[in-house]
């Protein structure tokens, strides 16, 4: 899969590293060169310095040829603009945007952008953990902890990749 990620913060860089490790072609864009330091040293994908909400920058990195697009900067509005340009102007079908304001997340979901809010994801997970709701919490928690052990160098990456059976 050919994936474009805008925003090389902790979330963007971690996901880029995971997808790259699983053999996907990843391009990651950020305005700040220093932010690429979040990427794992093993990252073999492409980094591009530029504003991911800019029509010309998106065109330059070949947004029209990607299978999936994720806007993961720390700005809700920037993510929504980048995601809409990608979907409406370049016609990419799978478009995701991190939108931490839950109300904005809901409004733009209706426009066909898959939005997700760290606010609500974390709140739901924490509630599930507190109430011992295994159905919601357990799988996510196990996989998260596994990923963290890999990132800390305690386990190999192969162990953290979701198995075919789970998918």
């Amino acid at each position: 899969m050919n994936v474009l990620i805008v925003g090389s913060g902790r979330v963007g860089a971690t996901l880029a590293g995971m997808l790259d490790g699983a053999g996907h072609a990843v391009t990651i864009v950020d305005v700040d060169r220093a932010s690429f330091a979040h990427l794992p040293s093993t990252f073999k994908g492409t980094t591009h310095l530029g504003n991911g909400a800019d029509l010309d920058v998106l065109r330059q990195v070949g947004v029209d040829k990607v299978d999936a697009f994720l806007a993961l900067t720390d700005g809700d509005n920037r993510n929504l603009m980048a995601a809409q340009i990608t979907k409406e102007i370049f016609g990419v079908k799978r478009v995701f945007a991190k939108v931490n304001d839950p109300i904005r997340a809901e409004i733009y979901r209706a426009k066909g952008i898959t939005t997700f809010s760290r606010t609500t994801i974390l709140a739901v997970l924490l509630q599930a953990m507190l109430l011992d709701d295994r159905e919601v919490g357990e799988v996510l928690l196990q996989r998260t902890m596994k990923l963290e052990r890999v990132m800390a160098g305690e386990e190999s990456a192969a162990a953290a990749a979701p198995s075919g059976a789970r998918r």
């Binding site: 909400a53 800019d54 029509l55 010309d56 700005g75 809700d76 509005n77 920037r78 929504l80 603009m81 980048a82 809409q84 340009i85 409406e88 102007i89 304001d101 109300i103 904005r104 409004i107």
Partner: protein
């Protein structure tokens, strides 16, 4: 008229001041507390200290009854979202107008449903193009047409332009564009389609904003 202004920077403040002086009712939404306080000291109780890109504050500012919502912050993504949320929250009746800082975002905003944009860069470019001696020709985007993706362009045919000596009918104009009239020696030329363009003719064109460059190439070179 009731106008909600999202963003109390230099443009937002002076716009509010001018509208109030012209007898209009105004509400400025400004997220910075100190700036909001300062505007209130200057203009009175016309400020809501809140982020303009959250729908509930747009409603609190009374955007449902506003004749216009103007998004004039210095960030294009923020102005886009403010306008889209205003369309969603405040009903379809009022005008929604965005300031764009990067001129190419005018096209981006239109593609994303925000038709009315103002680019200060482009306004200044137009003024400069109007002021500069053109050497017997000029290409001037006059104005965008409200509620469409079209604009009105005036092109003065210069010596050596590719359109000189050609009948209007034979010109390779971009799709969706139309030559509406020709002014020659201060008079309108009758029968636009059959007219043969001469040096000094002023041609009035309706064209899609995205095709401006093509119109320029065809008429002006």
């Amino acid at each position: 008229m009731y106008v909600v202004i999202a963003g109390g920077g230099e443009i937002g403040y002076h716009l509010a001041k001018a509208l109030i002086e012209a007898g209009h009712e105004v509400m400025v939404i400004e997220s910075d507390r100190h700036r909001a306080q300062w505007i209130e000291e200057q203009l009175g109780s016309v400020v809501l200290n809140a982020p303009a890109d959250e729908g509930r504050y747009q409603l609190e500012a009374g955007c449902q009854r506003a004749d216009a919502v103007l998004a004039v912050t210095g960030e294009d993504p923020k102005n886009l979202v403010i306008c889209q949320l205003a369309r969603y929250n405040c009903g379809p009746h009022g005008r929604v107008i965005a300031r764009v800082n990067d001129p190419k975002n005018e096209i981006v905003f239109k593609a994303l449903g925000i038709d009315e944009t103002v680019s200060s860069t482009r306004v200044l470019m137009n003024v400069i193009e109007q002021e500069l001696p053109t050497g017997g020709g000029g290409f001037l985007p006059l104005m965008p047409l409200t509620g469409s993706h079209l604009e009105l362009i005036e092109a003065e045919i210069a010596p050596g332009a590719p359109s000189v000596g050609k009948p209007v009918r034979s010109l390779d104009m971009p799709p969706g564009s139309l030559i509406g009239g020709i002014v020659r020696g201060g008079k309108v030329v009758p029968g636009v389609g059959d007219a043969v363009l001469q040096v000094g003719d002023r041609v009035i064109v309706f064209a899609p904003t995205v095709a401006e460059a093509e119109v320029r190439k065809t008429l002006y070179g």
